[in-house]
């Protein structure tokens, strides 16, 4: 490649008008992704954003990279095709809780288990935004929406828990209202070689306003969440006055000194799984940041390795070889 240019966040902005509601959390994610691309130093032409359908899935139009705004729920499958066809590309999937976990749930779990090297950013607003406010697979039981006027009867998924269940090699969580945390998290995801699943809590001002307020609002955030950092003790609180440690099947609160050191690269996903159970306990902080990060062969890596191995052994196949095999006879 010729001289590589160091791009800035704004270089990733496309010429399209951004069409989200004023105040929507999507804006913040857009600008954080643009900054992340700039800071990891990629070239625009090597980046492909693939999305499904939803407010969130409009995303690719706003990026001055290659992109596919596809059909509802299929982004992960399409992105798999892009990455496997050309492993040189940086592939990002942008999806929503409806797109990626409802109709697209199967492609999601399969692409995670196959460890396709792509970054999956799931905008979780616990609602279907684009279709104007129906409950989603992450909406809490009881939520009243247009299709659940007496409260939703569905028990929700926890996206992180589902990704761990599917065997994802990278799992993380961040929030729209903390750009710094988001950029840090996306930066680590971008460097991960393999499928990186990042849930972003995203506020839908129109149909599910403030659904994450109890954890994201400045006033409570430090107490209601813990920011996990690899190699550092699990401490939280405004004054970093609380710690977490593992006790049996549970995570318990302790003094900062007793806090366990967080290691997302632990081979077993059990630690991450235990941490995410804190979501069910109102007395515990919700874990943010990187919950899992392990190395494993990627799908596209294995596929191209097989291509090379077989080609090395059998020689580059020519068109003629396809037709004129050993079984051919001649009529003269």
């Amino acid at each position: 490649m010729s001289e590589v240019q160091q791009l800035k966040a704004k270089d990733f902005k496309s010429d399209q008008e951004v069409k989200w509601c004023p105040g929507c959390g999507d804006y913040s994610i857009l600008s954080c992704v643009q900054s992340t691309l700039a800071s990891v130093g990629v070239q625009k032409e090597n980046v492909v954003f693939v999305s499904g359908i939803g407010c969130s899935s409009r995303f690719p139009y706003y990026m001055d990279t290659y992109g596919i705004h596809s059909i509802h729920g299929r982004a992960n499958a399409i992105a798999t095709g892009v990455k496997v066809a050309n492993p040189e590309l940086d592939v990002w999937v942008i999806t929503g809780d409806g797109d990626g976990l409802s109709i697209g749930g199967n492609h999601m779990i399969h692409s995670l288990r196959r460890n396709v090297d792509m970054k999956v950013v799931l905008f979780n607003n616990e609602i279907y935004g684009l279709t104007k406010g129906q409950y989603s697979p992450t909406s809490p039981q009881g939520l009243k929406t247009k299709t659940s006027p007496y409260g939703s009867v569905d028990a929700p998924f926890n996206p992180i828990q589902l990704a761990l269940g599917a065997g994802s090699t990278f799992v993380a969580r961040t929030m729209d209202v903390s750009p710094k945390h988001m950029k840090d998290t996306l930066g680590i995801a971008a460097e991960h070689k393999g499928a990186a699943f990042v849930e972003v809590w995203q506020n839908c001002v129109i149909f599910n306003h403030d659904c994450f307020k109890g954890w994201t609002e400045k006033a409570v955030r430090d107490e209601a969440t813990i920011n996990l950092k690899a190699g550092e003790p699990m401490v939280y609180g405004k004054d970093k006055d609380k710690g977490l440690r593992f006790d049996g099947f549970k995570v318990v609160i302790c003094s900062p000194e007793e806090a366990a050191i967080w290691d997302p690269s632990e081979a077993s996903p059990a630690a991450a799984f235990m941490l995410i159970q804190m979501d069910n306990d109102p007395g515990m902080p919700r874990p943010m940041g990187v919950l899992r990060q392990v190395e494993a062969p990627t799908l596209e890596g294995l596929i191209h390795e097989q291509l090379s191995t077989v080609t090395d052994k059998r020689g580059d196949g020519e068109l003629k070889d396809l037709l004129y095999t050993a079984d051919v006879w001649e009529v003269e």
Partner: protein, 613 residues
Amino acid sequence: MSSELIRQDEVTIRFVGDSGDGMQLTGTQFTETTAKVGNDLATFPDFPAEIRAPAGSRAGVSGFQVHFSSHDIYTPGDAPSVLVAMNPAALITNYMDLQPGGIILVNTGAFTDKDLKKAALDSNPLTDGTLSGFRVIEEDINQRTMEALADMGLGKKDVLRCKNFYTLGMVYWLYSRPMEPTLEWLKVKFAKKPELIEANSRALKAGYNHGELLRLFQGRYEVPKVTDAPKGHYRNIMGNEGVAIGLVAGAKLAGLDPFLGSYPITPATDILQYMALMKNHNVITCQMEDEIAGICTAIGASYAGRLGMTTTSGPGLALKTEAAGLAVMTELPLVIVNVQRGGPSTGLPTKVEQSDLLQSLFGRNGECPLPVVACACPADAFDSAVEACRIATQYMTPVILLSDNYIANGAEPWKLPAMEDLKPFPVDHPTDPEGFSPYTRDEKLARNWAVPGTPGLEHRVGGLEKDAKTGDVSYDPDNHDIMTETREAKILGIRDSIPTPPLNGEATGELLVVGWGSTYGATRAAVERMQKEGVKATLLHMRHLWPLPHGLLEIFQGFDRVVVPEMNRGQLAKLLKMEYPGITFEPFSKMKGKPFQARELKAHFEELLEDKS
């Protein structure tokens, strides 16, 4: 008795037995050897949907018919002249198809009372008169095989597994085929199990010698090789294999690497299996979690610059339709192969039908036109697949390639194209950012195919309506009108690149038979027989189902009657009615999960011509 050979011009043999008896293998070996001998041939395997229906039951009967001759043939034969039946269930479900006076070779070793009961028979057809009118040759093949392998130290079960080779040996002797090709094949197949090479080879030879020595048959036959076959290289080919090779060749001719995203489904799975072996041709195959993921990965791969493909059968095509619409909207090249089977729903998964034509043409939401191409026979699969790749890449469009279970699993000799006759149709990806738009079109109305990785051509595609000039999302009413017509016109324009199909027969006459897909062999045989009898009948066989080629109306107008035989309820006939309102098309439909026979077609055509109403 001397081994003097009785010459025959053509023979149809049907091997039938239990699913566990290895009849498919026997048939395939006979076919391979027969191809090498230089006969023309066509085959028809017919097996149950269950992996293993109960042993000895009628549901478990597996068959393989092979028709071979010293002249050109087009079908696996209507009525077999020889039936090889390994058990009572196989015998009872097949004997009635045999030609009067035909030979039945029966394995009496499988006719115990228990065996009869498994076949739900109250009396033994060998003794109760059922088979009167046929020449029955009884042989305890089980016993003979055990004797032949007595000193090998194999268990009884393993020994009996070799009985199909014993049978094959007998039939080789009867039709004076060489054993060498099969002996060679055994060596490769069981390279790691020498005892099996030995056992099967011995069984084969023993069967052969048995024919030689024991004069079981009243004579020995010879079907001389085809002498007027066009010069060139030949290879025996099955339809699915032909499609696989054609798809890879098509991509190569476009200068691209193929990507196949697929999900197994009978009878399309083989294509994925064949292509999975072609890794040194830079073929990527991904077995995905479902049909939707199969087509979606292919779309992604096409966007990234490979030639995306996906293979399936009817129920899978139903699942892919939404994504096919995305490929139409984004105008990306893509080949969708549909190997049809009996429907609706799961239907008859291992039987043949042509009932997905209307689904292929119209089964998508919105105005969503795409070209449809169909293979005529195993030997045509390659060309049709290459044609699908040509259209996909030259016109930036998904293409549906239709095959069916009969083509997929049938085999026949395929005259290989000379390499210089394979004309490349290279794709030209843009690289110049100056004035670039992803929706700039060439004279064929195909849009620009810019590939990720190309600096300065960054752009987004998607399923929403696109502005005709910029490719940005557009909700403009007039633009939608323009784009709808452009997509339609692009597809219709393909007809400028395809020939009017050749006629088999004169350009005017009493009867025009219009066919598509795997009716080819039977319609051709029927029409040629009628022509020989002096009837002015002509066959028009269509490879392109959409767009329809130029010149059809003029052809239709040249005939008194136009009949359209199909293994569905008249789907092509419906399309033709839509497109040629002045013409009367007479559908002739068969919905039995089985291909047409030339004789039933001929009978129907003759009836039509008599009825001058």
